[in-house]
């Protein structure tokens, strides 16, 4: 039996727009997504903003009813057997909300433990253990309102582990953390995997997905566009090289000119203050550089590098140049 089984999942939101002339707009957040996750596997869900990741996680976590399709977790249906599922899952939506700020961390945990019906005697030992595990040892009696964002996110991890769930859903758990904090957080996730937990993770950080995930599903506009190991996904771009070019305020027409070149597969642009970093995917590798320079048409160009593709480049190719 797989830990997670998702079959032709679909979710449509109906949103009312306009104040006076109200009309209903339908948004297909998840169109057709299927995947399964084995027990103990760390599974990544990647996709651009609005791809439907959070919507999928909400349905997995019994918080949203699918419009069509079905999900089973540890053999239980998320709609018909929601409470059986809830006993076995933990989940986090990235960010700092969702805790009682007026309570201490310990009291937050005590309260959630009571909601899970945990034996108070057991909680007495488990709460300090979890606080230590997420690096909040010694801060447990402070009110959450004085916690930093990272501390709140760690507390969420402790919260979701109170009932020792078998399956975890982590929606962008490292969002907004500083690099060191994010690295420590990833270590916590890896520790959880060694405890044989099944984990589904969404993230926008490709290196994070590459470092953590056994398998990855890339979704776009509510559909699965690829499902493979990180290595397997990279094979999608193994015929390509990446030319990285630093430019300074190149206008959109020039960038479109590059996108239109016959030997260019995909272009992503990262804006960094005054600079832009163009990542051009091409089969021609270094040979493409002179033509690319010509296409840049006298724009100031800084550093130029030709390199092997990474998971991020595979991702960019799959979702068509959006990051």
């Amino acid at each position: 039996m797989n830990a997670i089984e998702v079959n032709h999942l679909k979710r449509v939101y109906r949103a009312a727009i306009g104040v006076f002339k109200r009309s209903i707009k339908e948004v297909v957040a998840v169109d057709d997504i299927s995947f399964s996750v084995e027990k103990g596997e760390l599974f990544g869900l990647l996709g651009p903003n609005g791809a439907g990741k959070t919507t999928t996680v909400k349905m997995l976590a019994t918080l949203l009813i699918p419009t069509a399709g079905n999900i089973s977790i540890m053999g239980f249906d998320v709609v018909k057997q929601a409470n059986e599922v809830r006993k076995r899952i933990g989940f986090i939506f990235g960010g700092e909300r969702g805790l009682y700020w007026r309570l201490s961390a310990e009291d937050n945990l005590r309260y959630f433990a009571s909601l899970y019906g945990a034996d108070p005697e057991v909680s007495k030992k488990r709460i300090p253990y979890l606080l230590e595990m997420v690096g909040l040892k010694g801060r447990g009696n402070e009110r959450v309102e004085g916690y930093s964002r990272g501390m709140k996110q760690r507390l969420h991890v402790a919260r979701t582990l109170l009932h020792d769930p078998e399956v975890l859903f982590l929606d962008e758990p490292t969002i907004g953390l500083d690099p060191v904090g994010a690295r420590e957080f990833r270590q916590v996730i890896l520790d959880l995997q060694t405890e044989k937990k099944t984990i589904l993770l969404t993230t926008h950080y490709m290196f994070e997905a590459d470092a953590l995930c056994d398998r990855i599903a890339v979704i776009d506009k509510g559909c699965t566009v690829a499902l493979d190991t990180p290595g397997g996904l990279k094979k999608h771009v193994s015929d390509l090289s990446i030319v990285e070019m630093e430019t300074f305020g190149a206008p959109e027409e020039v960038l479109n000119g590059i996108r239109a070149l016959p030997f260019v597969d995909a272009v992503s642009v990262e804006d960094q203050d005054q600079r832009q970093l163009l990542k051009v995917q091409t089969e021609r590798g270094a040979e493409a550089v002179p033509d690319l320079m010509a296409a840049l048409d006298g724009q100031r160009v800084g550093r130029v590098i030709v390199r092997e593709p990474t998971l991020e480049d595979a991702y960019v190719r799959l979702v068509g140049g959006k990051v």
């Binding site: 979710r11 939101y13 109906r14 919507t55 909400k58 976590a61 019994t62 918080l63 949203l64 009813i65 409470n83 809830r86 006993k87 899952i89 989940f91 939506f93 909300r97 969702g98 805790l99 009682y100 700020w101 007026r102 309570l103 009291d107 937050n108 005590r110 309260y111 959630f112 009571s114 909601l115 899970y116 019906g117 034996d119 108070p120 005697e121 919260r159």
Partner: protein, 266 residues
Amino acid sequence: MNVLTKNLRLFWQGTMLSYIALFAWLRPVTYAASKIVMPLAQMLFFVFLGTYATNSNNVDFYVIGNAVQITAVSGIFGVTMSVGGDRWAGTLPYLFGTPANRVMLFFGRAFMHVIDGTIGVVIAFIWGVTLLGLDLSHTNLPALGLTILVTTLSTCALGLLMGCLSLITSNVMFVNNTVYFLLLIFSGANVAIDKLPAWMQALSQILPLTRGIAASRALVAGQGLAEIGPMLLTELGIGFVYGTLGYFMFHWFEVVAKRRGSLETV
């Protein structure tokens, strides 16, 4: 530890922590003010206004009416905050993601306010006796205590229903203030109910507090539990109806939020 004590401890922990977590007045000074000063202020205001306006000497009428009505501070404002507070705390997804028994969860939100409201009324009665000459020497005090408790229960039940409203709309503080002040009149705390127009009297009959206040006045006047028993039972029944309506609304909120995807929209 046997199952019963374990469940009781769980319930106690849950209600106590949710009370602290969600009841935003619980800073010691404001809390003390709301418990000690406010009942006195309300009572003095209506006693002097009432006796001046009606040119009569029925101080007890206003003292008892307002002392009991004070329970609405906990019952309406407190309970609403405790039920609706999860919305602004952003905890609703995490709350509804647990297998917690929803009946316990919902009614647990009101539990501490029942205790709190009862204490508030007792303090108000103490003010009445010490400062406004209320005479309880002919009163069956245990019966008065029971009346206060029952009235607080039924008022908190209305609060639970209001709390569900606050999960759905953000204008609930306005609605709450309105309900509180309407209760000041409709419950008979400050105006004899038989002096109200017929439609207002009809509304009085389906609100909590009305019978609780009437029963308290009767007890202070020397009547016994046997005479006021029917009123207390009806008061309790009214509370039961509001509590049940509240629970169904809470349940409905969860079902609809999961269907619409509106669990964390503020």
